[in-house]
Symmetry: C2
């Protein structure tokens, strides 16, 4: 029984790893689409989101089967319940990357962002590319040190996100209202990608340490419109 459980748990973990690798690719690709007007990259992110959705369904199915057949307790149960949550988080990250790719595709060959906003968004993207790398290694190695880095670093993304609002209200701003809409929405998508990475990191800390991060509110604070 125990052997079967471990094998089945390993299979779910593999699917979850595949999900996070797909999400990383989606984040990288959305950035390439947004920053370099790479239309192929945009299309790949949009098409690839279906695979992320399918992996989520598969992970949920496997978890429910594990719960039904194996009745895990203690750490094993914690892993299965956290896996359900992680799959939902990664699915949402795929959606957000897709939204960014869709915006880039819509305005191609132009950027959705006015010139003066591009350096700031390139900085946010560099931050997210790094988060995507961290998430991948955090998950495959159950590495709480990296998880804690993700949690602590998110303030930097929030600060960059705030700057997008300052820019939009500054003298330098030359964009159209359509560009302002895109700056606000794409900025929001990127900030939410960071929030979801934090939520995933807390989940990994929970799996490893048993400390329940849901006791700390996972609000998207400090980045909001006020």
């Amino acid at each position: 029984m125990r052997v079967i459980f471990n094998e089945e748990l390993k299979a779910v973990a593999d699917d979850l790893d595949r999900m996070v690798q797909d999400v990383r690719k989606a984040i990288n690709g959305a950035g390439d689409a947004l920053i370099n007007q790479n239309l192929e990259a945009a299309q790949a992110v949009i098409d690839g989101d279906i695979e992320i959705d399918a992996l989520e369904s598969s992970v949920i199915d496997q978890c429910v089967k594990l719960l039904a057949k194996q009745s895990p307790v203690a750490t094993d149960l914690r892993v299965v319940v956290s896996t359900l949550r992680l799959a939902a988080t990664f699915e949402r990250m795929g959606d957000l990357a897709r939204h960014i790719a869709e915006a880039a595709r819509r305005t191609y060959p132009a950027s959705p962002l006015p010139a003066e906003a591009q350096p700031l968004f390139a900085e946010m993207q560099a931050f997210l590319d790094n988060v995507a790398d961290q998430m991948t290694s955090m998950l495959s190695d159950r590495d709480t040190k990296t998880a804690e880095e993700i949690i602590l670093n998110d303030d930097k993304l929030d600060a960059l996100h705030k700057k997008t609002f300052e820019l939009a209200q500054s003298e330098t701003w030359s964009g159209t209202n359509q560009q302002l809409i895109d700056v606000v929405l794409i900025g929001r998508f990127m900030e939410r990608l960071g929030d979801h990475a934090v939520s995933a990191a807390r989940r990994v800390v929970f799996i490893v340490s048993g400390f329940d991060p849901s006791k700390e509110p996972t609000r998207d604070e400090g980045t909001d419109i006020d």
Copy 2:
């Protein structure tokens, strides 16, 4: 054992009902703050979000304990797993209502929205107030008919949300860039509230019918920036 399980499941269901009632209050209050510049309502939504977060923690704890001690299968397992997901959805809806309330508080006694945008947002709010009512009765009665209405009706909110972008790019638009930022963000929060209600409705259909709504992608499509 079965009696204990049913009693414990009833206790979780009660907490989930309390959550949805709190979310309904939060949606109503955020609307009152946004549309009528009701500062007290805004503050109540902001303060009340802590209770929604606490209820989520409590629901998750109870579900994990149920899974550990009772090892539910079949329909019971479906209910427990769906409850985990519903609690996460309601927690997020509380956050979104809070964001709207925070925007209203920040600009008080003025509205965050320029005059020409107010009728459109009042219409979106009326839609969401109705959704909040539907969600409450759907959950307490396990009523799939109302759930299906929520799922089908969401297009109307998406259409209103699209109109906010059209307005911001029209000749009529007289708002500042700060107001445009608020229109985009608040519009997005409201649209996401609708999406989460759809996700909750699909979950209720799943509990009752066993048809798995996760096989249908729960994307927030049709409402995006392109």
